[in-house]
Structures are given as C-alpha cells and as structure tokens.
C-alpha cells in the first residue's frame, strides 16, 4: 500500500478520473452495506455478549454485565466444548498439512503448464462441489454397510477397523458415530484449502536455490528438509489458517457425523435457537474469533501473511 501511495503522478495523468472524491463516491454503497449493515451487526453481536438473561423470566436484560462470560468460562461442560473443538481443529490442521504437502510438491514440480492447470482444477473442483453434499458423501462412506467396511472386508482388515473403533475417545459404535470419522470428514472437506497455498509457496522457491543445494553436494532428502520445507513453511501456515478456523466455526459436520459431544458451532446454534439464550450464543461465537486471533498472532511469525 505504502509503495503504491507514492505513485501520485498517475492521478495527474488522468484528468477525467482525477477527482479526489471519485473513489469514495463509488465506494459509498458497498461501504454502507459492509461498514454499516455488516460491521454494525458484528458490533451488535459483540454487545449482546455483554448482556445477561433474567434467571426467572428467561428474558434478555440489556444492561452491561460480565455474567455471561463468567458463565461461559466457569461451566466445565462449556470448557469441554471449547477444548474438544480446538483439539479437533489442531488435529485436522496437522493431518491436512501432512496429506497436502506431497500433492502440492508434485503439482509445483510439474513443468507442463497444461498438466499443471489440470491438476489445479482437480484440486479445486471438490472445493466447488457443494459443501453439504461432500459432507453427505461421507455418511455413505462411513456407514456400517458402506465403502470402508466393504474395502476392509475385502482386504481382510476388518480386525484393524474394529480395533480402531474400540479405542477410547476416538472410537465409537461405527465410523459414522466416532470422532475419528468426524476427523476424516473435516480433513476431506478442508484439504484443498491447505494444498493451494503450499503449492503457491513452493512455486516461489527459486530453482537456483535448490540447484545450488544440489551442486554443493546435498542429497535430495537433505535439500528437501533443509531448503524446500523451510521455504514452503509460510504456505503451510497460510493453509493452516483456513483449516483451523474453518474447523472451529463449523457446525454442520459435527451434526451429521461423529460422537454426540458438542462443538462450538453447535453451541452457538442451540443457544440462540432452542435454548433461547442469545447473550450466551453471542459470547460463544466470540470464542472462535479469539482463538483464531491468537492463532493468527502465532502464525504471523511463520510469515503466513506473505503467502496468502
């Protein structure tokens, strides 16, 4: 922004467009929509989280109080929900990074532009096929009579599958009712968001750097671990912002697959709807923003913002 800011002479060169108020005039409508309607709504929501609910009538009391936040952090089940969601988001992010990296590396190393374009389409296409339908697809896959059980039986791995399901915490009566199943769905749904920034970061690694590494006698594995990976790390960090925050805010996937434990998104939805406690719903919706904010501060150090 600052470097462009010096390009003032451009303005003088375009008298018809040069009027100072011109951009602001154009921006008036979008700014009214996003700045007043949307930002105003967000601030209103924030305000709601500082309201309380009358214990007897269940009505919202529009007076400043910290009692809603106190209730949020002092109820052990609420803390469980936050911890469960954050752990899931971390696990999903880690798995996405591990699966995405080789794919991104492969695509980044393709030299044929047509082949590369095809692979990029292959990666982005699932992103565009309806989100809800992709989640639904996993109900078919994870069902007891579904593809995974069938494949496990064919490969004589049913024992392994049963062993996995009998594990505490991540197991369950079937894959569709386990946290492991839910984890698979999250990884599947957000994976492209991890692949694309890593690929972009890898494309930016100059060939000369890896060549120099090889010329200086590094084995391919050494070049990878000491040159390519560190240089691609900002891409991983950028991708992790997506996978992490998307998992934190999601409430469809935990409703469709997985164990009965609540996630943050579901708490927000239930509190505003069935429970009718709008202030608590508002307070809960602030939680993912705060966690993502902390996470952003952390990944900023890895240079994620340069790779976005």
């Amino acid at each position: 922004m600052t470097t462009q800011g010096r390009a003032v002479p451009q303005k003088a060169a375009r008298p018809s467009f040069g009027k100072r108020y011109w951009p602001l005039l154009l921006l008036a409508a979008p700014l009214l929509w996003l700045g007043v309607l949307y930002l105003g709504s967000l601030l209103g929501l924030l305000g709601y989280s500082f309201y309380g609910v009358d214990d007897f009538t269940g009505q919202v009391v529009p007076q400043f109080t910290l009692s809603t936040f106190r209730q949020l952090v002092s109820t052990p089940s609420n803390i469980d929900v936050i911890a469960r969601t954050t752990l899931m988001a971390a696990a999903v992010t880690l798995a996405c990074a591990v699966i995405a990296f080789p794919l991104a590396l492969y695509v980044a190393r393709l030299t044929d532009p047509r082949k590369k374009a095809l692979w990029v389409l292959l990666i982005t296409l699932p992103l565009w096929a309806s989100y809800l339908v992709r989640v639904y697809a996993w109900r078919l896959i994870l069902a007891q009579e579904g593809v995974i059980s069938w494949a496990a039986a064919k490969l004589h791995l049913t024992g392994v599958l049963d062993g996995l399901l009998s594990l505490p915490v991540i197991g369950g009566t079937s894959l569709a009712n386990s946290y492991f199943g839910m984890f698979l769905v999250f990884v599947y749904v957000w994976l492209p968001y991890m692949i694309l920034p890593i690929q972009a970061a890898l494309e930016r690694v100059p060939t000369s750097v890896t060549q120099a590494s090889a010329d200086l006698g590094a084995r391919p594995a050494q070049t990878f671990w000491r040159i390519t990976l560190p240089l691609a790390l900002p891409g991983v960090a950028a991708g992790s912002i997506f996978t992490f925050s998307l998992t934190l805010g999601d409430y469809i996937i935990p409703g469709v697959v997985g164990a009965p434990g609540y996630f943050i998104g579901q708490m927000v939805y239930t509190q505003q709807g069935a429970a009718g406690n709008l202030p608590l719903a508002a307070a809960f919706s602030i939680v993912p923003i705060v966690i993502v904010g902390l996470y952003l501060a952390f990944v900023r150090r890895l240079g994620a913002f340069d790779a976005l």
């Binding site: 154009l26 921006l27 929501l45 296409l125 992103l127 943050i264 927000v268 505003q272 919706s285």
Partner: protein, 269 residues
C-alpha cells in the same frame, strides 16, 4: 524445481487426488442404487426410478425455486456492490484503503456462524421478518468479495490510457463506460457473478440463521439427511445440488482462462 518427481511422490499425489474425488463419484453412484434403506456398498443394482420419485416431490421444487430466486437476488446485489467497490479501489489511493480491503474479506474470513448470528440479531432488531429478503441480504454480504476480486484484478490490468484515448476522442464519460470499460469487464463480471451464484446456491450455515422457516435447497437437503426413509430422494437431490453448483464454476473457469486466475476462494463455513 526441475527435479523429476519421484515415483513415491507421484503415487502420493495420485492417492491424494483419489481421496478428493472418490466421495464425489460415490454421490453419483448412490443416486442410482436400488437399495432404499441402507448405504450398502456395492449397490445391489442400478435404477433410474428415484429421479422420478424425487422430481415428484413438490417441497423439493419449492426449495429449489427459492434457492434460485435467492441466488439471483444475491448475485445481482453482489454484482452492483462488488463492481462499485472494485471501481473505487482499483487505482485509487486513500487513507484507510487497507481497512476497506479487510472489510470486504471479513464476511468470508469470519466463521459462518458469526456472520449468521450477527445478521440474525440486527435483522430482528430492525423488525424484518425472516424470509426471502433476509436470506438474500445474508448471501449478498459474502458474495460481494467474489465479484470484487474478479473485477478488481481485471481493472488493474486495464491500461488507463484506453480510457484517456476514449475521452480524448470526445466520448462522454458514460460513453466511455458503455463502449470501453464495460466490454472489458464483461467476462470478469460474468465470472464473478457465476461464482457468487454458486456460493449462494450452496450456502447452509448463514442461511440457517437468516431463513426462519423458509427452506432453500441445501437447508431442505440438510433436513432430509436425518430422515432415513427418504434416502433415495436425498441421494438424487445431492447429485442435483452438486451438478448445479459445479456447472457455473466450470463456466467461470472457462471465462477467466488465460486471463486471470479465477479469483475468489470458496467459502463454506
């Protein structure tokens, strides 16, 4: 990056691609299964009869019609607001420009539950009853950025000298807009509009907050997921939704091919 990809790298890339696409292929397969109670794999047989059953459901058509109306309304609003924002931002410098940038991205950067709940609270305060209009308002909010991204990228590549030439040759500003600027932006606007349409057509999370008792097609589908008796219909509609969301995207991809990369990240949550 001139090293030939090793076999293991190639293999893991293909495995990753298979992981991404097999679930989509299964959606196609299950729309034709003869099994109507369970998700048995492999399907015991294939049939077309569920398409007829699904198409006979009037509530499905109502939901589809609402989704189309909402997507058209949200796209129209997004085209106007996103186009104006792009025109205002493309070549101008002013204090607070980065703040405006942030504001444009915010609706897709924040979790859908936050946007949905925030809009619900203010629409309620404003006394607006949940309905088609409130759904459109919600969708337009996060669709603006896809149009903006596409148009702003195109405007940045448009040389200002073309507009100057038009003005020098005596064209009034409106003529320059109609005969120089608009043809230049046409495909960018179309691509952005198609992306906005797909984004709106597919959205569930914000919609659940702003729809009240109305059902868009994804909301309808979401409700069906919990009705085991309706599995064959669910399978068919899932395929339908997938196709309707994918087609505009592929078209947008075509339109922007060779010019700019398709701009506008998918937003799901």
């Amino acid at each position: 990056m001139n090293a030939q990809p090793s076999t293991s790298l190639k293999l893991s890339a293909w495995l990753g691609a298979a992981f991404l696409h097999i679930p989509l292929l299964l959606i196609v397969l299950y729309a034709f299964t003869t099994e109507d109670r369970t998700y048995t794999f492999p399907p015991p047989g294939l049939t077309l009869k569920w398409f007829g059953v699904a198409f006979a459901r009037t509530d499905m058509w109502e939901a589809l019609w609402l989704s189309v109306r909402v997507a058209l309304g949200a796209t129209a609003l997004a085209l106007v607001l996103g186009g104006l924002a792009a025109a205002g931002m493309a070549r101008s410098q002013f204090r607070g420009k980065s703040a405006v940038n942030l504001l444009l991205v915010l609706p897709i950067a924040l979790p859908g539950i936050v946007t949905g709940l925030a809009l619900l609270v203010s629409l309620r305060r404003a006394g607006l009853d949940a309905g088609t209009l409130t759904i459109i308002i919600g969708h337009a909010t996060f669709c603006i950025v896809t149009v903006y991204n596409n148009v702003v990228a195109r405007l940045r590549r448009l040389s200002p000298s073309q507009l100057e030439a038009s003005a020098d040759l005596g064209a009034r500003p409106l003529q320059t807009f109609r005969y120089v600027l608009l043809p230049h932006l046409a495909t960018a606007l179309l691509a952005g509009g198609l992306l906005a349409f797909a984004l709106s057509f597919d959205e569930v999370i914000v919609t659940t907050f702003t729809a009240g008792s109305q059902q868009t097609l994804p909301i309808w589908l979401y409700g069906e997921l919990f009705k085991p008796r309706q599995r064959p219909v669910t399978n068919v509609v899932a395929l339908l939704v997938m196709v309707v969301t994918l087609l505009p995207i592929l078209l947008a991809q075509r339109l922007t091919q060779g010019t700019d990369a398709m701009n506008g990240a998918g937003k799901s949550s």
